[in-house]
């Protein structure tokens, strides 16, 4: 199902930085349709019944259970949500896909990984790049869970440098098949999958090539033992060895040498879905922590009434609120762009590929931000539970261990940080996003004398929105100056890129939270959004601090003397509050609401 598509101009990926977004144009979780809510409730019920209830078995590495629940998920139609109807799926829109992914992923990281690996990188390469025959043959079985998929990219020597894999594909003399030889590592779902997406190099090609390989032990495919991991314990993770594995030429995915592109595009979708997958985990962690804090008494007081605990709960809820806001904002952009391309005559395949690729920057931002938020949240969750949080008896320690992998897979957070800024600069070079004009304007503004007028901040979010606009200037100042100084060699300045990315991430997340609340205030009134307003302000306050720290680091690393002084002054000017928010009061407001509702209720 596709939610209503506006005919308005849709912002391009990365353009949020230089164009103002109206709150009416963002999609929020409050905009879910009745049908989407029903889907969500259905997934929640399934999750509670099949996954949460079996938590102990997942933690005891019950791999068979993972497969069994995956099969049930297939029967429920959860695996085919994103698959076009022509190939046995349900052909639902991107937002619906995100909803299913979000709510099915919170019961256990083990299941979340199996689900993500199968529906994302295990199935998508075929739906997005497969020939008609390949799609007809494989996708219906993958969409219903009759077969499961796995994605073989990583090798012992090729992790983040994915294109450096040593696995080879050699064409047979009769030209009818390839022989694949090599070793793949950390392959999720390897233990029970039927279809591998394998990346291998043909001759001395610069880029790798993708193949669809059916799992057949008699065809030179052997599996390593199950890896014993910190978290996601019941996710089957094995090495896969290919020894003269014969693959018919018609199983090549897309064209020769196109594998790296397939791998990267599959990951773009994987990243935003991974963000979704972390959201409901964070929600459950927050609610569980809140409930524990309400029951646990020390000094004759429920610990939820202590400021030390309130502060944690308020921060946990706030980062989740921002995560939800940003994830569904980007998801709607993607859905709209896919619809726009299809209306313009693109095939579903092309439209989806280009639609997601357009927002690769946002996908990277979300992957980093939400995976780190869920980690921090679970860490604070353990802290609230105290000693009990450290025990396997409560769900906190598993949540914490399971969250850890999210910062590593689908591209490490370091790779994604650098990618987000790198892609933005590339887009600017291509003329898709005009960074140069705004960056020059900021440069000029730095030389001017700042205005001493006191603006009118009486309207809701007036100061916060101005702050967001100023924070964007910080990014433009830092990134603009970095590009000018280092040009193409900027890639080598990783610490600078990381700092710039931290600024970019905070801008997107803070702005998304504010836009969501602003939209909801217009619909539901300010009184009904009191806590959401507090969360938006609190998130921004934290974001400003992060931006000051990273801004300083970046400026000092690349500028000296007067230029450095001028930029540091700019940083100060662009991060200055006229009215400092009272964060203690904000956190109290949020925590009191959480306490009253006894759950994350936003």
């Amino acid at each position: 199902m596709s939610t209503e598509t506006t005919t308005k101009e849709i912002l391009r990926g990365g353009q949020f930085l230089v164009k103002e977004t109206n709150c009416e144009d963002v999609f929020t979780p409050e905009d879910f349709s009745e049908e989407q809510k029903m889907m969500r409730d259905s997934v929640i019920e399934f999750n509670d019944r099949e996954i949460v209830a079996n938590r102990d078995r997942f933690e005891a590495k019950d791999y068979a259970l993972t497969e069994e629940v995956m099969t049930k998920a297939g029967e429920m139609g959860f695996l085919g949500v994103a698959v076009p109807e022509a190939y046995g799926g349900l052909g639902m829109g991107f937002i619906s896909t995100m909803i299913v992914c979000e709510y099915i992923s919170s019961g256990s990281g083990s299941f979340s990984t199996a689900f993500g690996a199968h529906t994302g990188i295990g199935t998508m390469p075929i739906t997005l790049y497969g020939t008609e025959a390949q799609k007809q043959k494989y996708v219906p079985k993958l969409a219903t869970g009759e077969w499961f998929g796995a994605y073989c990219l990583t090798e012992p020597g090729a992790g983040s440098d994915a294109n450096s894999g040593k696995t080879t594909a050699t064409l047979s003399e009769d030209g009818k098949s390839y022989k694949i030889n090599g070793q793949k590592m950390w392959i999720s779902n390897a233990g029970f999958c039927k279809v591998f997406i394998v990346f291998a190099r043909i001759e001395k090609d610069k880029n790798i090539t993708g193949f669809i390989v059916e799992n057949d032990p008699s065809n030179g495919i052997t599996l390593g033992e199950e890896e014993h991991k910190l978290g996601i314990r019941a996710s089957s993770t094995r090495q896969v060895f290919f020894n003269d594995t014969v693959v018919p030429v018609e199983n090549m995915l897309s064209e020769r040498g196109n594998g790296f592109k397939i791998a990267m595009n599959a990951l773009n979708i994987g990243r935003i879905k991974l963000a979704a997958a972390c959201l409901d985990s964070q929600r459950r962690i927050t609610t569980n922590s809140l409930r524990y804090a309400t029951e646990r008494k020390q000094f004759k007081t429920a610990i939820v009434d202590f400021g030390a605990i309130k502060s944690k709960l308020a921060e946990m809820a706030t980062s989740l609120y921002a995560g939800e806001s940003a994830s569904y904002r980007a998801a709607k952009n993607i859905e709209d762009r896919i619809a726009m391309r299809m209306a313009a005559g693109n095939s579903h395949q092309e439209a989806e590929l280009k639609g997601v690729e357009e927002y690769a920057i946002e996908c990277s931002i979300l992957k980093v931000a939400v995976s780190e938020d869920v980690q921090n949240c679970s860490d604070e969750g353990i802290q609230i539970f105290g000693g009990m949080g450290f025990s396997e008896e409560t769900p906190m320690e598993a949540a914490w261990r399971d969250a850890r992998i999210a910062r590593i897979y689908e591209g490490t957070n370091e790779i994604n940080r650098m990618l987000s800024v790198g892609l933005l600069i590339k887009k600017a070079m291509k003329g898709h996003v005009d960074l140069l004009g705004p960056a020059t304007a900021v440069g000029n503004e730095l030389m001017d004398i700042p205005s001493f007028d006191t603006p009118d901040y009486s309207e809701l979010f007036a100061e916060e929105k101005e702050m967001i606009a100023k924070l964007k200037k910080v990014f433009l100042m830092v990134a603009g100056s970095a590009v000018q100084k280092y040009g193409p060699a900027l890639d080598e300045h990783q610490m600078l890129l990381l700092a710039a990315s931290n600024i970019l991430i905070e801008i997107y997340m803070a702005e998304s939270a504010i836009l969501r609340t602003e939209k909801n205030v217009k619909r539901f009134g300010e009184a009904a959004q009191k806590e959401q307003i507090s969360m938006s302000k609190l998130y921004l306050y934290n974001a400003v601090d992060i931006i000051i720290k990273n801004g300083k680091e970046a400026i000092v690393s690349m500028a000296e003397g007067d230029e450095q002084r001028m930029m540091l002054m700019g940083l100060k000017r662009f991060t200055k509050y006229a009215n400092q928010p009272n964060v203690v009061e904000l956190r109290n407001t949020i925590a009191e609401k959480l306490k009253a509702e006894n759950k994350y209720c936003f």
């Binding site: 049908e35 809510k37 889907m39 409730d41 019920e45 029967e75 429920m76 085919g80 639902m92």
Partner: protein, 248 residues
């Protein structure tokens, strides 16, 4: 066989209960509504009749447009058609009269209603409905088999079970036992998509008598502080019960 399952739209069991308008109205703010659990057991049994005996299943509710997500869930689970009587369900008699009109027009062989709804716990609707429709009636039904025109039902009675043989047309007041809790269905994705295309007929209420009015709701008094008395100190316990609690 044509089956009508009557659904009540009730607050989720975990909802916080509050009242407004001087304690005369239930505060629906922030409350999530679900299919009344007793009705859901009946709906699931009806699905069994549909799949195994080719029955047609309609669902009906008396409620405003806000109840539609609940009805649509029943369609997503597999009901063929839905009817919503566009009215606030004021009391049991009113609801039963509205449903009786639907039963009259729909020529149903079997009407399954929950024994009671878990919000106001009136427990009146199935009985009144059977009476108004002139159908046989089995209440607190925990098992139901149909063969041709004959029905075999099991009722829960105090301390045991009662097996009853009766004939269609029949109204039952159902509950847990008609199916097990683990049999309750979660709407699958295709069902949810199909629900969009199924008929949801909205009909206006017939004029009906409202027999009662809500005057006031009261929540149970909140529990006071607990005093723990040492097991050896019987005298103090008696003293407290006699002089403070004044119960002995």
């Amino acid at each position: 066989m044509k089956i009508l399952v009557c659904l009540s739209n009730v607050p989720d069991t975990t909802s916080k209960i509050n009242f407004t308008d001087g304690d005369t109205k239930f505060d629906t703010n922030g409350v999530q509504f679900v299919i009344n659990p007793n009705d859901e057991f009946g709906l699931t049994r009806a699905m069994w009749f549909k799949e195994k005996q080719g029955a047609t299943v309609h669902v009906a509710t008396v409620g405003e447009a806000s109840t539609e997500p609940t009805i649509r869930k029943a369609l997503a689970i597999g009901a063929d058609e839905a009817i919503r009587v566009n009215a606030v369900p004021t009391d049991g008699y009113f609801v039963a009269e509205q449903l009786a009109e639907i039963v009259k027009n729909g020529e149903y062989d079997l009407v399954i209603a929950g024994r009671e709804s878990i919000d106001y716990n009136g427990g009146m609707v199935p009985g009144i409905l059977a009476s108004l429709s002139g159908m046989n009636f089995v209440n607190t039904c925990i098992s139901l088999e149909i063969e041709g025109n004959n029905a075999t039902a099991v009722r829960e009675i105090d301390g045991g079970k009662e097996k009853i043989s009766t004939t269609l047309p029949l109204v039952i007041g159902g509950q847990k036992g008609l199916v097990a809790e683990s049999d309750l269905r979660i709407p699958n994705m295709r069902g949810i998509m199909m629900a969009r295309q199924k008929k949801l007929n909205v009909v206006e209420p017939i004029s009906a008598s409202k027999a009662t009015d809500d005057v006031k709701f009261e929540k149970p008094a909140s529990k006071g502080q607990v005093k723990l008395v040492d097991a050896d100190n019987i005298d103090e316990l008696i003293n407290l019960l006699h002089n403070e609690a004044k119960v002995i």
